[in-house]
Protein backbone atom coordinates (compact mmCIF):
# COMPACT_ATOMS: atom_id res chain seq x y z
CA UNK A 1 0.00 0.00 0.00
CA UNK A 2 1.32 3.38 -0.98
CA UNK A 3 0.33 6.64 0.69
CA UNK A 4 0.93 10.15 -0.60
CA UNK A 5 3.23 12.36 1.42
CA UNK A 6 1.57 15.16 3.38
CA UNK A 7 2.10 18.54 1.69
CA UNK A 8 4.80 20.74 3.10
CA UNK A 9 3.75 24.17 4.38
CA UNK A 10 5.90 27.12 5.40
CA UNK A 11 7.23 27.52 8.94
CA UNK A 12 6.02 31.13 8.75
CA UNK A 13 7.46 34.08 10.68
CA UNK A 14 6.76 32.76 14.18
CA UNK A 15 8.73 29.51 13.97
CA UNK A 16 10.79 30.56 17.00
CA UNK A 17 7.85 29.83 19.30
CA UNK A 18 7.83 26.17 18.42
CA UNK A 19 11.37 25.42 17.38
CA UNK A 20 13.94 27.37 19.40
CA UNK A 21 13.61 25.13 22.48
CA UNK A 22 15.91 22.76 20.58
CA UNK A 23 18.48 25.31 19.46
CA UNK A 24 21.82 23.53 19.25
CA UNK A 25 24.64 25.76 18.08
CA UNK A 26 27.45 23.66 19.53
CA UNK A 27 27.80 20.02 18.51
CA UNK A 28 31.03 19.55 20.46
CA UNK A 29 29.64 18.17 23.70
CA UNK A 30 32.14 16.83 26.26
CA UNK A 31 33.41 13.53 24.90
CA UNK A 32 33.05 14.46 21.22
CA UNK A 33 36.32 13.88 19.40
CA UNK A 34 37.92 16.33 17.01
CA UNK A 35 39.15 19.88 16.96
CA UNK A 36 36.30 22.38 17.30
CA UNK A 37 35.67 24.52 14.25
CA UNK A 38 33.17 27.29 13.63
CA UNK A 39 31.01 27.72 10.55
CA UNK A 40 29.29 31.05 10.24
CA UNK A 41 27.44 32.73 7.47
CA UNK A 42 24.56 34.78 6.29
CA UNK A 43 21.34 34.00 4.47
CA UNK A 44 20.34 36.56 1.83
CA UNK A 45 17.45 36.82 -0.62
CA UNK A 46 17.21 37.80 -4.29
CA UNK A 47 18.04 41.43 -3.44
CA UNK A 48 20.93 40.48 -1.18
CA UNK A 49 18.81 41.50 1.81
CA UNK A 50 19.43 39.52 4.99
CA UNK A 51 16.90 36.84 5.88
CA UNK A 52 16.37 37.44 9.58
CA UNK A 53 13.69 34.80 10.12
CA UNK A 54 15.29 31.61 8.81
CA UNK A 55 16.09 28.42 10.68
CA UNK A 56 19.23 26.50 9.74
CA UNK A 57 19.55 22.83 10.68
CA UNK A 58 22.60 20.66 10.11
CA UNK A 59 23.21 16.91 10.15
CA UNK A 60 26.69 15.46 9.99
CA UNK A 61 28.89 12.47 10.73
CA UNK A 62 31.47 12.39 13.50
CA UNK A 63 35.19 12.82 12.89
CA UNK A 64 35.48 9.14 11.99
CA UNK A 65 32.79 9.36 9.31
CA UNK A 66 30.10 7.64 11.34
CA UNK A 67 26.50 8.81 11.67
CA UNK A 68 24.77 8.23 15.03
CA UNK A 69 21.96 6.34 13.34
CA UNK A 70 21.09 2.63 13.05
CA UNK A 71 21.34 2.69 9.24
CA UNK A 72 25.05 3.42 9.55
CA UNK A 73 26.36 -0.09 10.05
CA UNK A 74 29.97 0.98 9.80
CA UNK A 75 32.56 -0.04 12.35
CA UNK A 76 34.13 3.38 12.94
CA UNK A 77 34.08 4.62 16.55
CA UNK A 78 31.02 6.54 17.69
CA UNK A 79 31.07 8.74 20.79
CA UNK A 80 27.93 8.49 22.93
CA UNK A 81 27.86 12.29 23.23
CA UNK A 82 27.77 12.90 19.47
CA UNK A 83 24.30 13.72 18.11
CA UNK A 84 25.27 15.11 14.70
CA UNK A 85 22.42 17.62 14.85
CA UNK A 86 22.45 21.39 14.98
CA UNK A 87 19.68 24.01 14.79
CA UNK A 88 20.00 27.80 14.90
CA UNK A 89 17.73 30.67 13.85
CA UNK A 90 19.28 33.52 11.89
CA UNK A 91 19.81 36.81 13.73
CA UNK A 92 18.57 40.28 12.65
CA UNK A 93 21.46 40.47 10.17
CA UNK A 94 20.59 37.08 8.68
CA UNK A 95 23.59 35.47 10.37
CA UNK A 96 23.99 32.03 11.86
CA UNK A 97 26.92 30.25 13.52
CA UNK A 98 27.67 26.67 14.52
CA UNK A 99 30.54 25.23 16.52
CA UNK A 100 31.24 21.66 15.43
CA UNK A 101 33.97 19.33 14.25
CA UNK A 102 34.96 18.46 10.70
CA UNK A 103 33.20 15.21 9.83
CA UNK A 104 35.05 12.22 8.45
CA UNK A 105 34.28 10.63 5.09
CA UNK A 106 31.14 8.56 4.71
CA UNK A 107 30.24 6.09 1.95
CA UNK A 108 28.59 7.47 -1.15
CA UNK A 109 27.14 6.12 -4.36
CA UNK A 110 28.82 2.90 -5.49
CA UNK A 111 30.66 2.50 -2.19
CA UNK A 112 33.27 5.19 -2.84
CA UNK A 113 33.85 7.50 0.09
CA UNK A 114 32.39 10.99 -0.11
CA UNK A 115 34.35 14.09 0.72
CA UNK A 116 33.67 15.44 4.23
CA UNK A 117 30.45 17.41 4.19
CA UNK A 118 27.67 18.75 6.40
CA UNK A 119 24.03 18.36 5.33
CA UNK A 120 21.97 21.52 5.67
CA UNK A 121 18.22 22.13 5.84
CA UNK A 122 16.74 25.64 5.58
CA UNK A 123 13.32 26.82 6.68
CA UNK A 124 11.82 30.29 6.52
CA UNK A 125 8.78 32.40 5.86
CA UNK A 126 8.27 32.54 2.09
CA UNK A 127 9.50 28.99 1.66
CA UNK A 128 6.67 26.53 1.16
CA UNK A 129 8.97 23.55 1.44
CA UNK A 130 12.40 23.42 3.01
CA UNK A 131 15.62 23.56 1.03
CA UNK A 132 18.54 21.20 1.43
CA UNK A 133 22.16 21.76 0.55
CA UNK A 134 25.66 20.75 1.69
CA UNK A 135 28.73 22.40 3.14
CA UNK A 136 32.08 21.07 1.91
CA UNK A 137 35.51 21.95 3.31
CA UNK A 138 38.05 24.16 1.56
CA UNK A 139 41.23 22.54 0.33
CA UNK A 140 40.13 19.00 1.12
CA UNK A 141 41.80 16.71 -1.43
CA UNK A 142 38.71 14.45 -1.43
CA UNK A 143 36.54 17.20 -2.94
CA UNK A 144 37.92 16.52 -6.42
CA UNK A 145 36.52 12.98 -6.50
CA UNK A 146 33.22 13.60 -4.68
CA UNK A 147 30.36 12.41 -6.89
CA UNK A 148 27.83 14.90 -5.54
CA UNK A 149 30.18 17.84 -6.06
CA UNK A 150 31.03 16.49 -9.50
CA UNK A 151 27.33 16.45 -10.42
CA UNK A 152 27.14 20.22 -9.83
CA UNK A 153 27.99 22.52 -12.76
CA UNK A 154 31.58 23.65 -12.21
CA UNK A 155 30.71 27.33 -12.10
CA UNK A 156 28.27 26.78 -9.21
CA UNK A 157 30.37 24.35 -7.17
CA UNK A 158 32.00 27.06 -5.08
CA UNK A 159 28.64 27.86 -3.46
CA UNK A 160 28.92 24.55 -1.60
CA UNK A 161 32.46 25.02 -0.27
CA UNK A 162 33.11 27.01 2.90
CA UNK A 163 35.94 29.57 2.95
CA UNK A 164 38.58 29.95 5.65
CA UNK A 165 38.24 33.12 7.71
CA UNK A 166 41.56 34.97 7.44
CA UNK A 167 43.54 35.03 10.66
CA UNK A 168 41.24 32.70 12.60
CA UNK A 169 42.27 29.08 12.98
CA UNK A 170 39.37 26.71 12.60
CA UNK A 171 36.94 29.40 11.47
CA UNK A 172 34.99 28.93 8.26
CA UNK A 173 32.49 31.09 6.42
CA UNK A 174 29.67 29.71 4.29
CA UNK A 175 26.86 31.89 3.00
CA UNK A 176 23.49 31.09 1.50
CA UNK A 177 22.21 33.10 -1.44
CA UNK A 178 18.63 32.04 -2.07
CA UNK A 179 18.24 33.53 -5.53
CA UNK A 180 20.20 35.48 -8.13
CA UNK A 181 23.92 36.00 -8.62
CA UNK A 182 25.92 33.36 -6.79
CA UNK A 183 22.74 31.42 -6.03
CA UNK A 184 23.51 28.51 -3.73
CA UNK A 185 23.07 25.03 -5.15
CA UNK A 186 20.12 23.26 -3.53
CA UNK A 187 19.49 19.55 -3.83
CA UNK A 188 16.50 17.34 -4.40
CA UNK A 189 17.39 14.57 -1.95
Amino acid sequence: MSLQTTSSQTVGPYLHIGLTWLVTDNLVAPGVEGDPITIEGRVTDADGAPVNDALVEIWQANRHGRYPHPEDRGSAPLEAAFTGFGRVPTDPQGRFKFTTIKPGRVPGAGGALQAPHINVTLFMRGMLRHLTTRIYFPGDPANAADTVLASVPAERRATLVAAPVAGQTGALEWNVRLQGEGETVFFDV
Binding site: T5, S7, L15, G126, L128
Partner: protein, 250 residues
Protein backbone atom coordinates in the same frame (compact mmCIF):
# COMPACT_ATOMS: atom_id res chain seq x y z
CA UNK B 1 20.99 -3.19 -16.69
CA UNK B 2 23.90 -5.59 -16.43
CA UNK B 3 23.34 -8.87 -14.59
CA UNK B 4 25.93 -9.42 -11.91
CA UNK B 5 25.43 -13.01 -10.77
CA UNK B 6 26.70 -13.64 -7.32
CA UNK B 7 28.07 -10.15 -6.95
CA UNK B 8 26.28 -8.57 -4.03
CA UNK B 9 28.77 -5.81 -3.37
CA UNK B 10 28.69 -2.90 -3.27
CA UNK B 11 25.26 -2.92 -1.73
CA UNK B 12 23.10 -0.23 -3.24
CA UNK B 13 21.18 1.81 -0.70
CA UNK B 14 17.43 2.01 -0.71
CA UNK B 15 16.60 5.70 -0.81
CA UNK B 16 13.34 7.52 -0.25
CA UNK B 17 10.88 7.74 -3.12
CA UNK B 18 10.28 11.09 -4.76
CA UNK B 19 7.01 12.70 -3.71
CA UNK B 20 4.11 12.18 -6.06
CA UNK B 21 3.21 15.01 -8.40
CA UNK B 22 0.63 17.35 -7.00
CA UNK B 23 1.44 16.70 -3.36
CA UNK B 24 4.08 19.39 -2.77
CA UNK B 25 3.90 23.13 -3.40
CA UNK B 26 6.20 24.85 -5.86
CA UNK B 27 8.93 26.92 -4.26
CA UNK B 28 7.92 29.92 -6.37
CA UNK B 29 4.22 30.54 -5.77
CA UNK B 30 3.47 34.24 -6.41
CA UNK B 31 0.08 34.26 -4.62
CA UNK B 32 2.23 33.87 -1.47
CA UNK B 33 4.21 37.05 -2.03
CA UNK B 34 7.21 36.19 0.15
CA UNK B 35 8.17 33.31 -2.15
CA UNK B 36 9.11 35.71 -4.95
CA UNK B 37 12.42 36.89 -3.45
CA UNK B 38 13.22 33.71 -1.58
CA UNK B 39 12.60 30.85 -4.00
CA UNK B 40 15.70 29.66 -5.88
CA UNK B 41 15.64 30.44 -9.61
CA UNK B 42 17.63 27.33 -10.51
CA UNK B 43 16.08 23.86 -10.40
CA UNK B 44 17.02 21.65 -7.47
CA UNK B 45 19.77 19.21 -8.41
CA UNK B 46 18.81 15.57 -7.85
CA UNK B 47 21.33 13.44 -5.98
CA UNK B 48 21.37 9.71 -5.44
CA UNK B 49 20.66 8.66 -1.89
CA UNK B 50 23.79 8.17 0.18
CA UNK B 51 24.21 7.40 3.85
CA UNK B 52 23.90 11.15 4.45
CA UNK B 53 20.29 11.27 3.25
CA UNK B 54 19.02 7.96 4.66
CA UNK B 55 20.24 8.74 8.16
CA UNK B 56 19.04 11.63 10.29
CA UNK B 57 18.92 13.01 13.81
CA UNK B 58 17.30 10.93 16.52
CA UNK B 59 15.81 12.46 19.65
CA UNK B 60 15.05 10.59 22.82
CA UNK B 61 12.27 10.91 25.34
CA UNK B 62 14.78 12.59 27.64
CA UNK B 63 14.24 15.82 25.71
CA UNK B 64 10.50 15.85 26.41
CA UNK B 65 8.94 17.07 29.68
CA UNK B 66 5.70 15.88 31.22
CA UNK B 67 3.52 18.84 30.19
CA UNK B 68 5.05 19.42 26.77
CA UNK B 69 2.11 17.71 25.07
CA UNK B 70 -0.48 19.74 27.01
CA UNK B 71 -0.40 23.40 25.99
CA UNK B 72 -3.14 24.23 28.51
CA UNK B 73 -0.94 23.27 31.49
CA UNK B 74 2.26 25.20 30.87
CA UNK B 75 1.43 28.24 33.02
CA UNK B 76 -0.14 29.03 36.38
CA UNK B 77 -3.65 29.46 35.01
CA UNK B 78 -5.88 28.10 32.27
CA UNK B 79 -5.57 29.71 28.85
CA UNK B 80 -8.61 31.45 27.37
CA UNK B 81 -10.31 29.57 24.58
CA UNK B 82 -11.92 26.32 23.59
CA UNK B 83 -9.92 23.30 24.79
CA UNK B 84 -9.28 20.72 22.06
CA UNK B 85 -7.45 17.43 21.70
CA UNK B 86 -5.39 16.85 18.56
CA UNK B 87 -4.47 13.25 17.80
CA UNK B 88 -3.11 11.50 14.79
CA UNK B 89 -0.89 8.86 13.40
CA UNK B 90 2.40 9.36 11.61
CA UNK B 91 2.86 6.86 8.80
CA UNK B 92 5.40 6.52 6.03
CA UNK B 93 4.55 6.27 2.35
CA UNK B 94 4.43 2.49 2.67
CA UNK B 95 1.69 2.83 5.34
CA UNK B 96 4.04 1.74 8.13
CA UNK B 97 3.90 3.62 11.44
CA UNK B 98 6.73 6.02 12.20
CA UNK B 99 7.41 5.21 15.85
CA UNK B 100 9.36 7.26 18.41
CA UNK B 101 9.76 10.33 16.26
CA UNK B 102 9.69 13.90 17.54
CA UNK B 103 6.61 16.01 16.75
CA UNK B 104 6.84 19.77 17.44
CA UNK B 105 3.86 22.13 17.17
CA UNK B 106 3.22 25.86 17.54
CA UNK B 107 0.13 27.99 17.10
CA UNK B 108 -1.62 31.30 17.82
CA UNK B 109 -3.79 31.76 20.90
CA UNK B 110 -7.60 31.82 20.84
CA UNK B 111 -7.55 35.46 19.76
CA UNK B 112 -5.28 34.77 16.81
CA UNK B 113 -2.16 36.24 18.39
CA UNK B 114 1.35 34.85 18.82
CA UNK B 115 3.55 35.89 21.74
CA UNK B 116 6.21 36.98 19.27
CA UNK B 117 7.85 40.39 18.79
CA UNK B 118 7.03 40.36 15.07
CA UNK B 119 3.32 39.75 15.63
CA UNK B 120 1.78 43.23 15.76
CA UNK B 121 -1.83 42.10 15.37
CA UNK B 122 -4.13 44.14 17.60
CA UNK B 123 -5.45 41.19 19.59
CA UNK B 124 -4.61 40.23 23.17
CA UNK B 125 -1.84 37.88 24.16
CA UNK B 126 -2.67 35.33 26.85
CA UNK B 127 -0.27 35.09 29.83
CA UNK B 128 -1.38 31.48 30.24
CA UNK B 129 -0.66 30.39 26.69
CA UNK B 130 2.64 30.15 24.84
CA UNK B 131 1.38 27.96 22.02
CA UNK B 132 4.33 25.54 21.77
CA UNK B 133 4.20 21.78 22.29
CA UNK B 134 6.16 18.65 21.55
CA UNK B 135 5.85 14.94 21.99
CA UNK B 136 7.08 11.65 20.59
CA UNK B 137 5.02 9.20 18.56
CA UNK B 138 4.37 5.88 20.27
CA UNK B 139 5.21 2.43 18.94
CA UNK B 140 2.21 2.55 16.61
CA UNK B 141 3.02 6.05 15.33
CA UNK B 142 0.35 7.88 17.34
CA UNK B 143 0.77 11.31 18.90
CA UNK B 144 -1.60 13.37 21.06
CA UNK B 145 -1.73 17.02 22.13
CA UNK B 146 -4.11 18.98 24.34
CA UNK B 147 -4.40 22.64 23.40
CA UNK B 148 -6.91 25.39 22.67
CA UNK B 149 -8.42 26.09 19.28
CA UNK B 150 -6.25 28.74 17.59
CA UNK B 151 -7.86 31.91 16.27
CA UNK B 152 -7.75 33.20 12.71
CA UNK B 153 -5.67 36.33 12.15
CA UNK B 154 -5.00 38.93 9.47
CA UNK B 155 -1.74 39.19 7.55
CA UNK B 156 -0.44 41.55 4.90
CA UNK B 157 0.05 39.23 1.94
CA UNK B 158 -2.80 40.89 0.02
CA UNK B 159 -5.82 43.09 0.71
CA UNK B 160 -8.01 41.73 3.53
CA UNK B 161 -5.88 38.60 3.89
CA UNK B 162 -6.70 36.28 6.81
CA UNK B 163 -5.02 33.06 7.79
CA UNK B 164 -7.42 30.21 8.53
CA UNK B 165 -7.06 28.68 11.98
CA UNK B 166 -4.03 26.39 11.88
CA UNK B 167 -1.42 24.56 13.92
CA UNK B 168 2.18 24.29 12.67
CA UNK B 169 3.73 20.80 12.76
CA UNK B 170 7.41 19.86 12.47
CA UNK B 171 8.52 16.22 12.09
CA UNK B 172 11.83 14.48 11.49
CA UNK B 173 11.00 10.88 10.67
CA UNK B 174 13.83 8.38 10.35
CA UNK B 175 16.05 10.23 7.88
CA UNK B 176 17.38 13.56 6.62
CA UNK B 177 15.18 12.91 3.57
CA UNK B 178 11.96 12.54 5.59
CA UNK B 179 11.96 15.95 7.31
CA UNK B 180 8.57 17.67 7.05
CA UNK B 181 7.12 20.95 8.26
CA UNK B 182 3.42 21.43 7.58
CA UNK B 183 0.24 23.02 8.93
CA UNK B 184 -2.98 21.44 10.16
CA UNK B 185 -6.28 23.16 9.42
CA UNK B 186 -9.81 22.76 10.81
CA UNK B 187 -12.82 21.29 9.01
CA UNK B 188 -15.31 23.68 7.48
CA UNK B 189 -13.10 26.76 7.73
CA UNK B 190 -14.43 29.25 5.14
CA UNK B 191 -11.02 30.95 4.91
CA UNK B 192 -9.24 27.93 3.42
CA UNK B 193 -10.01 28.64 -0.22
CA UNK B 194 -8.76 32.25 0.18
CA UNK B 195 -5.49 31.19 1.82
CA UNK B 196 -2.45 31.05 -0.48
CA UNK B 197 -0.60 28.71 1.86
CA UNK B 198 -3.37 26.15 1.89
CA UNK B 199 -3.94 26.64 -1.84
CA UNK B 200 -0.20 26.16 -2.56
CA UNK B 201 -0.69 22.41 -2.30
CA UNK B 202 -1.37 21.80 -5.99
CA UNK B 203 -3.78 18.90 -5.83
CA UNK B 204 -7.19 19.26 -4.20
CA UNK B 205 -6.81 15.89 -2.49
CA UNK B 206 -3.44 16.99 -1.12
CA UNK B 207 -5.07 20.13 0.30
CA UNK B 208 -7.86 18.16 1.91
CA UNK B 209 -5.30 15.97 3.66
CA UNK B 210 -4.12 19.10 5.50
CA UNK B 211 -7.55 19.48 7.08
CA UNK B 212 -8.15 17.65 10.34
CA UNK B 213 -11.42 15.84 10.96
CA UNK B 214 -13.66 15.99 14.00
CA UNK B 215 -12.85 12.89 16.03
CA UNK B 216 -15.47 11.59 18.41
CA UNK B 217 -13.11 8.88 19.69
CA UNK B 218 -10.61 11.35 21.14
CA UNK B 219 -13.24 13.83 22.31
CA UNK B 220 -13.23 14.03 26.12
CA UNK B 221 -16.80 14.21 27.50
CA UNK B 222 -17.58 17.56 29.12
CA UNK B 223 -14.00 18.67 28.52
CA UNK B 224 -12.63 18.97 24.97
CA UNK B 225 -13.48 18.26 21.33
CA UNK B 226 -11.11 15.95 19.48
CA UNK B 227 -9.58 16.50 16.06
CA UNK B 228 -7.62 13.93 14.09
CA UNK B 229 -4.71 14.79 11.81
CA UNK B 230 -2.74 11.93 10.25
CA UNK B 231 0.61 12.74 8.67
CA UNK B 232 2.44 10.80 5.95
CA UNK B 233 6.21 11.06 5.62
CA UNK B 234 8.06 9.90 2.52
CA UNK B 235 8.19 6.18 1.91
CA UNK B 236 11.28 4.22 1.19
CA UNK B 237 12.07 2.48 -2.07
CA UNK B 238 11.98 -1.25 -2.12
CA UNK B 239 15.50 -2.46 -1.64
CA UNK B 240 17.42 -2.57 -4.90
CA UNK B 241 19.11 -5.80 -3.81
CA UNK B 242 16.81 -7.87 -6.05
CA UNK B 243 18.52 -6.36 -9.08
CA UNK B 244 21.65 -8.22 -8.11
CA UNK B 245 20.24 -11.67 -7.55
CA UNK B 246 21.70 -14.26 -9.91
CA UNK B 247 19.98 -13.82 -13.24
CA UNK B 248 17.66 -11.34 -11.64
CA UNK B 249 17.62 -8.60 -14.21
CA UNK B 250 14.46 -6.57 -13.84
Amino acid sequence: MTSRPGNLAPRALAGYRPNDRGTQPDLLYPPYASTVKRAPSQPLLPIDATLSEITGPIFGYDRIHANDFDLTKQHAGEPIGERIVVVGRVLDGNARPVANTLVEIWQANAAGRYPHPRDQHNAPTDPNFTGAGRTMTDERGYYRFVTIRPGEYPWRNHYNAWRPAHIHFSLFGPAFATRLVTQMYFPGDPLLEYDPMYMSAPDDRARKRLVSTFDWESTIPEQALGYRFDIVLRGRDETPMENYLPGGVK
